[in-house]
Amino acid sequence: MVPAETYLGWRQARIPGDDHPMRQPQFIRSNTFHWAFMVAGVFAVFVIVLFGFIYWKIDDYLTARSDRVITVELESIASLPPERRLDAIDEKLRQDPRMVQLAAIFAPDGHRIAGNLESLPPQLRIDAPAQAADITRVDRNRRVRQVVRAIARRMENGDILVLGRNVDEAGEISHVVGQALGLGLLPAFLLCLLAGAWLSVRAQKRVEEVNQRVQRIIAGDLSERLPYRTVDEPFSKLAIIVNGMLDEMETMIHALAGVGNDIAHDLRTPLTRARLTLERGRTNASSLEQLQTVADKAITGIDQSLAIITALLRLAEIENGRRSAGFGSVALHEMLREVCDIYEPIAENKNISLQVDVKHQLTVRGDRDLLIEAVANLVDNAIKFTPEGGRVDIELLRGNGETIVRVADTGGGISEPEREAVLRRFYRSDKIRNTPGVGLGLNLVAAIVKLHGFRLAIHAGQGCRVEIICPDRKGEVSEPARLR
């Protein structure tokens, strides 16, 4: 077993007073075991109290019953004529094989006339209801001191009639109860402890197993997962949740590795060009003019690399979602007009008709600068990929509780297999790779859209149709005012 400190250190640190962690076996110190022990203890106390109560009740009942019996018998013997009472007592004692009956008649001076009581118990109150009495019983050959229930009555001739009954059944019952306790409770208690110890050992084994796997993950084996059973138990559920997280992280880490390669490729290409240009220029340039041309080319290459770094950093910034603090109300209709206004000359230069169709006054919550950037990127792309003489339409629509910004063009569109892929992080179409620009534009749009909780949809139509779908926020449904 791995020393406790390696993976349970946090727990020890949190239990005050647990200063000697290594003195007891591990499973005894475990939380599970403590709980099991406590449950067993509570269970034992409960059972003992229950048995005590039952015992007390039974004792009470038996006493009351024997009191009734002796009272009735006393009545019946007392009602006999004095000479027949002795016979009745003899008869009664003869028919008592278990020797629980006590009966005696004492003369007024205390002298025993008949029966099996040695003497009239001094504390026994006469003509009182049945009561406990400390008596000495005499049979043919022995004397026994007992505490019994007894009743005494003075007869009309002055004799005192005493009847008693040894209710020792209560003692027997307590004996039986004790045995039952011994036989039942002790094993139950031990079973509890055993179960606790077993659960604790099992939990520790699983923790240990998890620890080993986690160590492997830390060491770099990203495909490792936590063990779980298919049954519905908390530990497995937790393991499944953690595994889900690990899946996500593995994908992300692989994606990042891919990004690393992409960045390396995209940075190396312009840097290689710059380097080659400089190297060749240094050897071959013979005039200042030539050297300056070379320097200009090199600077262009370096600028391209820098632009890629800037775009990636910006993407990271947006994806980290640190900008939601700057959210406010953004009037989309105005924003779209502005974007159109900015891009109109560019479209015109390319003989593309750029139209904005805004029927509603719609606002959303968001970062105005980022949203402009997103829409500008879409329009920029649309103009770039639309051949001369085509058209680009910017539309603002309402429908289904959603506000939709649509940019449609008559360009080549995005092919079916690529439609999903362009939204994936850092995917870059080979077509896009060779056109000017950094090529992270759509990723940036996707990141901005995601930051706002909107959706990005790419449709095929005549050309390409990209939509930013802004669902209404709950409780913030603003009926759009129709323009004009």
Binding site: Q292, N349, D380
Partner: protein, 254 residues
């Protein structure tokens, strides 16, 4: 954005800007600039370039020392790096602003994120430039800071034959009325307030278009092309000049 360090490309610009910087700072032959930057190579390049353009440059490599220097020598403008040994660049600016020192400050930083930029400006910086930058960009922004247009109540701007009525929103060159779109009007207004001054594309994007990012397409060139077409008629001598690889200048004289 292209870096142009070659003298050929900027020589035309320097001629005019030198004269103007000198004119702008009264009672002084050369505007004094304090540079607080810990990387000595960068500092050397900047110092050399600025000296060549007629600035007197003081250099400090450390935040605390830089702050002392700013207090004692009262420069006309400052260029402050954000990450400095001793004291953070923004703290230096904050300390100066607390002393009611209003010297314009250009903040340099390798932190390019928009939030950092906003923070830099909020802490008292007047402009913000992300590393790496083109040296022309730095000089253009520095000059813009030194010659910030005074708050004026003038409702008409005049630059040479150009006249801009800010109330009526009309423009004229001589007697010829120029029909401008709102965006073009704003662009021309900005340029006329800063005539004879190099305006880089990044500056224009930030100030005229209020863009916080660099668009893929050369937006500024297209818009500027249209404006130039309207302002400089076929028979006029050109007023809007393209400084290759750097930006644009609206020149007063012909």
């Amino acid at each position: 954005m292209a870096l142009v360090l070659g003298k050929r490309a900027v020589s035309g610009m320097r001629r005019s800007s030198n004269a103007n910087v000198c004119a702008a700072i009264e009672n002084q032959l050369m505007p004094k600039v304090l540079l607080i930057e810990d990387d000595s190579e960068t500092a050397e390049e900047i110092t050399a370039e600025l000296a060549e353009r007629g600035f007197e440059v003081e250099w400090s490599a450390d935040g605390i020392q830089g702050l002392d220097q700013a207090r004692s020598s009262r420069p006309d403008a400052m260029i402050v790096d954000r990450l400095l040994p001793g004291m953070d660049g923004l703290t230096v600016i904050e300390a100066l602003r607390k002393d009611q020192v209003r010297t314009p400050v250009l903040v340099l930083s390798a932190l390019g994120a928009v939030d950092d930029r906003v923070r830099g400006l909020r802490m008292g910086g007047d402009d913000y430039l992300t590393k790496p930058f083109a040296i022309v960009e730095l000089v253009a922004r520095l000059e813009a800071l030194l010659r910030r247009p005074a708050e004026s109540r003038e409702t008409t701007l005049r630059v040479g034959p150009l006249e801009l009525d800010l109330i009526e929103r009309t423009a004229k060159r001589g007697d010829r009325v120029i029909d401008l779109l709102p965006r073009e009007f704003r662009l021309l207004e900005y340029m006329m307030q800063r005539s004879d001054q190099l305006l880089t594309r990044a500056m224009l994007l930030e100030e005229v278009w209020n863009y916080k990012f660099v668009p893929a397409t050369n937006l500024v060139d297209v818009h500027m092309g249209r404006l130039r077409h309207k302002v400089d008629g076929p028979d006029d001598s050109p007023m809007i000049h393209n400084v290759r690889g750097a930006g644009f200048i609206l020149r007063t004289g012909s």
